[in-house]
């Protein structure tokens, strides 16, 4: 009986040691802070990119309008020259 108890205790000690060993490998508070900061930086970058994309779209629209205005003006010039008989 004593033998059984000794074996059981040995098994407990071994299993407990293994579990403690596996659970002890967690990041430190400083490392967790690094991760948090990095996540924040990535989120900020994503926000900046979204803003830049919308700025780019607005500029594209402006340029298209100005191109249209320039073409219209050139075509008006032609029509006026024709009208004036030049």
């Amino acid at each position: 009986m004593k033998k059984i108890i000794n074996i059981t205790l040995a098994v407990f000690i071994l299993a407990g040691s293994l579990m403690l060993a596996s659970c002890s490998s967690t990041p430190s508070e400083e490392e967790m802070m690094q991760l948090k900061n990095l996540k924040q930086q990535v989120a900020d970058l994503e926000k900046q990119i979204a803003e830049k994309k919308s700025e780019k779209a607005a500029l594209e629209k402006q340029i298209a309008e100005k191109n249209g205005r320039l073409q219209q003006c050139q075509s008006d010039q032609e029509a006026v020259k024709k009208g004036l008989g030049q």
């Binding site: 991760l35 990095l38 994503e46 990119i49 100005k66 003006c73 008006d76």
Partner: protein, 256 residues
């Protein structure tokens, strides 16, 4: 002893069950490393995207500024061709827009209301003709607008100048006399306006008491009798009174 063994087994079982559950909430070092690596890669890619976008935006801003200058130069050249200034064109545009808005208001009026704006329409018509003759109208976008407005004004003028007529029916069926015709809702809705029909159709109506079926009478515009129409009506009433036999009791006035 058996009790000690049993208790140890229960504690072990509990430990084995609960320990992994507690460990699930916490990040392992490996997981931290993986997340850090993945986030750093993402940060690098995003940084590159941002740099690229900034470059593109700078290029577009330069292009936009150049286009502004090109448009300005083109418009200046266009106005120089016409011998006008930018201020002239802006004033022309402003006046045209105001006229377009006013004509749109007039278009919403009925013909009867429009008659009261005959003079304004005539002025608009004269002004749009001047604008059509202006060199600025050679610019197609203004020429087109001027032409469209001119058509609208002509349409309005036509609608008020269009002569309204009435075909006389029979007395037996329609009870048509000048009094009753003037009283009709779609004519003047006022029987006392009958002299206007009489005076407007002097070529046909010699005696306002006599109108014949199938005559097509012109219905002149207006809300009130003119001085001449009033005089004609008074003459008619005086003649009626003079022609009436002198009787002691009053005679009912005959409707014209």
């Amino acid at each position: 002893m058996k009790k000690v063994l049993l208790l140890s087994l229960v504690v072990f079982a509990l430990f084995v069950t609960v320990a992994p559950l507690i460990a699930q909430d916490e990040m392992t070092k490996e997981q931290w490393q993986e997340q850090m690596k993945s986030l750093k890669e993402k940060q690098t890619a995003l940084q590159a995207d941002l740099t690229k976008l900034n470059g593109e935006i700078d290029g577009m801003k330069t292009q936009s500024t150049k286009l502004d200058a090109d448009v300005l130069a083109c418009e200046d050249a266009l106005y120089a061709l016409l011998g006008v200034t930018r201020a002239d064109v802006e004033a022309f545009d402003k006046e045209l827009t105001q006229m377009e808005n006013r004509v749109a208001e007039l278009q919403r009026m009925s013909d009867a209301e429009l008659v009261n704006y005959k003079d304004e329409l005539a002025k608009l018509d004269a002004r749009i003709k001047e604008m059509a003759a202006s060199k600025i109208s050679l610019i197609p976008r203004y020429g087109d607008r001027v032409k469209a407005l001119q058509d609208k004004i002509t349409g309005l003028l036509n609608s008020i100048q269009k002569e309204k007529t009435y075909t006389v029916g029979t007395w037996g069926r329609d009870r048509d006399c000048l009094w009753n015709i003037a009283k009709k809702k779609d004519i003047y809705a006022n029987a006392w306006m009958w002299p206007k029909i009489w005076q407007g159709n002097r070529d046909m109506i010699k005696d306002p008491d006599v109108i014949k079926p199938k005559w097509v009478l012109k219905i002149p515009d207006g809300k009130e009798l003119s001085k001449e129409e009033k005089s004609a009506a008074n003459r008619y009433y005086r003649q009626k009174v003079a022609a009436a036999p002198a009787e002691p009791k009053p005679v009912e006035e005959k409707k014209p």
